[in-house]
């Protein structure tokens, strides 16, 4: 009993032990922060990569693409392990917003939107689709303008404090948009990812669903309208059309309203790899996508697969003999990638291997004899099928290694805490030499005296690691707010650059397993650090200890 009693008393009364506790606390917090941020970074990388891809990705790593994708998809759709497969096209282009000097080089992704929704989590990344369900499509469409319900009753305009500002007709969107907005509003879907506009605040104060997002208004006071030439839709990465605020919300640029015209300039590429004359295509901005990966959100735009295929001249065409000029067949359409969703319970590696074998085998399929030329066969020969993890291994593996390395390095640095515990406890033992003699004179055994200091070290570890875990937990949880605050104080103090680290926010989740690991390691290190002091105390001769000056 005296061991526990004296351990707790020394812990409370020996202020020097606070330094040991502080060292353990800081080291625990440091390791926990590093493990959490690096682990969270890795998890985010996996989650986001997973969300944008299918379970299996079929690709030949060529912008020339590969043929027979529709036939392949039709064939594998009959396989029980295949849920859905969809072709995707990738190319580069130049995006220009009409009426602004803004231009962006972008990666253009051609998708069949309804199919992509079934293959990966792309739908969840769309902004307008969330608040206006069913209004985002990539077909031809006009621009919706906010108007007013001139025939209906006037509503009272109030500010956020409820003070009356005036009254006027109710703002309205064109019927399809207004209906969708009211549907999501009644389903309890609220926009907390954008700052509230004055317009939205007034509508809310009037008890009406606020108009979410950025829309152009009709000139004067008139009903809502759909205006402009019908043009195909384009989904744009959110970091192109909005700016991220320090609190993590996105402020859309006022001069890029939903439905505004943009022009995409593309370079078509033949199956032989030759570049053709650039083509321009006007489109309408219909939605924006936020995957959370900065490289994607700041560069990717998404248009209709068939449209992009046509613009890139990768659609079906007549095959002409170069020497005679005669039509000798049909050039099959091409895509850049096929994303496949597989049914639960199947091994993606095994499915990927079989899909690859099947695709390569299609070259010899009699159904396609005479359809493929040498280039087509080569493009199919380059096809590989990878699981999503394999396809992202070049990103995930280095981060995984980096996480291990950084954790080990910080754990080594944390040995400083163990050494500090050793030094401080050894010093306490020297200071308490006479006390040790007294305890032994009262009948305390050497092992008992040694245990006091081992328990002391463990107690330092327990208290230090508990405090460190609390600090680490809250630091990680509020790490983005801390960084934003530091950035506001001095922009040079921004440590998390989205363009460098891919994600727009620092990972802020602490895993229970990491907490337990760090706490246990800290307690073991502190206890080991106390062993030398405990040995010294245990082997101290009582008579010599009592005579100690």
């Amino acid at each position: 009993m005296y061991k526990l009693f004296l351990t707790l008393r020394y812990l409370r009364k020996r202020r020097i032990a606070y330094f040991a506790i502080a060292a353990v606390m800081l080291c625990t917090a440091m390791v926990l922060i590093v493990m959490s941020v690096m682990g969270g970074f890795l998890d985010q990388l996996k989650t986001k990569a997973r969300g944008l891809l299918g379970d299996v990705i079929i690709d030949n790593r060529s912008y020339s693409g590969f043929p027979l994708y529709d036939e392949f998809i039709a064939d594998i759709s009959a396989w029980p392990e295949i849920v859905k497969a969809t072709p995707v096209l990738y190319t580069y282009g130049l995006l220009r917003f009409h009426g602004t000097p803004r231009t962006h080089t972008v990666q253009v992704v051609g998708v069949r939107l309804e199919d992509v929704y079934q293959v990966n989590a792309f739908r969840g990344s769309l902004y307008y689709e969330k608040y206006y369900p069913g209004t985002t499509h990539l077909g031809e469409q006009q621009q919706p303008l906010v108007g007013f319900d001139v025939a209906g009753p006037a509503i009272e305009w109030r500010d956020q404090h409820g003070a009356l500002l005036g009254s006027g007709p109710r703002p309205l969107l064109p019927p399809a948009y207004q209906t969708a907005l009211e549907k999501s509003w009644s389903a309890g879907i609220r926009d907390d990812e954008s700052p509230a506009s004055e317009f939205a605040t007034m509508l809310k104060a009037a008890g009406l669903p606020p108009i979410v997002g950025q829309y152009e208004a009709v000139p004067g006071i008139g009903p809502p309208l759909m205006v402009g030439d019908p043009q195909p839709g384009l989904i744009i990465g959110r970091d192109i059309i909005a700016t991220r605020l320090p609190d993590g919300r996105y402020q859309r640029y006022w001069n890029i309203p939903r439905g505004c015209l943009v022009t995409l300039t593309l370079l078509p590429m033949s199956s032989a790899g030759t570049v053709d004359t650039p083509v321009k295509q006007p489109l309408r901005y219909v939605d924006d996508s936020r995957t959370g990966i900065y490289e994607i959100d700041s560069r990717h735009v998404y248009c209709d697969f068939e449209l992009l295929q046509k613009l890139l001249r990768m659609d079906a065409a007549e095959r002409v003999d170069a020497q005679t000029g005669e039509t000798i067949g049909v050039v099959p359409p091409r895509c850049s990638q096929i994303q496949v969703k597989i049914a639960a319970g199947h091994d993606p590696r095994d499915v990927a291997r079989r899909l690859k074998e099947y695709y390569h085998g299609m070259v010899k399929d009699p159904r396609f004899s005479g359809m493929l030329d040498l280039n087509d066969m080569q493009l199919i020969g380059f096809i590989d099928a990878l699981t999503w993890e394999e396809s992202q291994a070049h990103i995930i593996a280095p981060v995984e290694k980096e996480r291990q390395l950084v954790t080990i390095l910080f754990a080594i640095i944390s040995l400083v805490a163990a050494v500090l515990v050793l030094c401080i406890l050894y010093m306490i033992v020297l200071q308490k030499t006479r006390d040790i003699g007294i305890i032994k004179a009262l009948g305390g055994s050497s092992a008992g005296v040694a245990l006091i200091f081992i328990a002391y070290g463990a107690a330092v570890g327990i208290v230090g690691s508990a405090l460190g875990t609390i600090i680490g937990y809250y630091f990680v949880t509020y790490i983005n707010q801390i960084q934003d605050w530091l950035t506001r104080m001095n922009p040079a103090w921004q440590v998390w650059d989205r363009s460098v680290y891919s994600f727009d926010a620092i990972p802020n989740t602490v895993r229970s397993a990491d907490m337990i690991t760090v706490i246990v390691a800290a307690i073991i290190a502190s206890t080991l650090g106390s062993l030398a002091a405990a040995w010294r105390a245990g082997t101290m001769q009582p008579v010599e200890a009592l005579r100690h000056e």
Binding site: M1, Y2, L4, F5, R9, Y10, K13, R14, R434, D435, G437, I438, I439, K440, A441, L442, G443, G444, S445, S446, A447, G448, A450, A534, W535, G538, T539, M540, Q541, P542, V543, L546
Partner: protein, 247 residues
């Protein structure tokens, strides 16, 4: 069982200090009867404290043996370990020696040797805590507290329970030390110059307390260089040249 509670025979203790050897005890023998008040006198550095430490199983003689209630306190000379190790609880002999310190002897030192982090009550209770498991202590804590309060009342410190040693006078500290030595009802109270650090008045009060304890049957072995203090004892032995002589 003989009338002798504590018997020491042929005790030798030599300290090695660098290259020199200091032969402090050269065959000391004595016998302490139950209820006796024995004083051991000697000049400073004569080995009185060493003899007291050996009698109380705090130090180990190279030769000779101490019998407590006819049982040997130390292992036979060939198997005797002179220095404590961290593994003392693994040895039966060492365990027994520690048990004597816990239950048979109570020490009072010249410089009080109270733990500064503990208050008066806690210093006294510490003696009872040593040797108790947490479970045993939980069961016996009320009795231990009752005994400690009783003994503190006896030494006149029952109103200063929460005071720390630094807040007490020398005489009060020594009374706390006596309470600590007596709280587990030891068979022998071993006092090493208990008045050596006290003024005349506090010293006299302390000697009065020891005399009262002796009158109640407490066996006391006291070491002093002060003939006035020794005069209070039933019997006085003089330690000279490492040997004991009757005074």
């Amino acid at each position: 069982m003989s009338d002798a509670l504590l018997v020491a025979s042929g005790l030798h203790r030599t300290y090695v200090m660098g290259r020199s050897r200091l032969h402090v005890l050269r065959g000391c023998s004595l016998s302490v009867r139950r209820g006796e008040f024995l004083a051991i006198m000697g000049k400073s550095g004569s080995g009185k404290s060493t003899l007291l430490h050996i009698l109380g199983a705090l130090d180990v003689p190279q030769e000779g043996q101490v019998l407590f209630e006819d049982r040997p306190v130390f292992a036979p000379p060939g198997k005797r370990r002179l220095y404590d190790t961290a593994f003392d609880m693994l040895s039966t002999c060492e365990r027994q020696r520690i048990a004597y310190r816990r239950f048979a002897f109570g020490f009072v030192f010249q410089f009080y040797h109270l733990l500064p982090e503990l208050n008066v009550l806690e210093n006294v209770l510490l003696t009872r805590m040593v040797g108790c498991s947490t479970f045993t202590w939980w069961r016996e804590r009320h009795q231990a507290r009752h005994d400690a309060l009783e003994i503190l009342r006896r030494v006149g410190l029952h109103e200063r329970l929460r005071h720390r040693p630094a807040e007490l006078s020398g005489g009060e500290r020594q009374r706390v030390a006596i309470a600590r030595a007596l709280v587990h009802r030891p068979k022998v109270l071993l006092a090493d110059e208990p008045t050596g650090n006290l003024d005349a008045e506090a010293g006299a009060a302390l000697l009065g307390l020891l005399a009262d304890l002796h009158a109640e049957g407490q066996t006391i072995v006291l070491v002093t260089h002060d003939p006035g203090v020794a005069a209070r004892a039933d019997r006085v032995l003089r330690l000279e040249d490492g040997r004991l002589h009757s005074a």
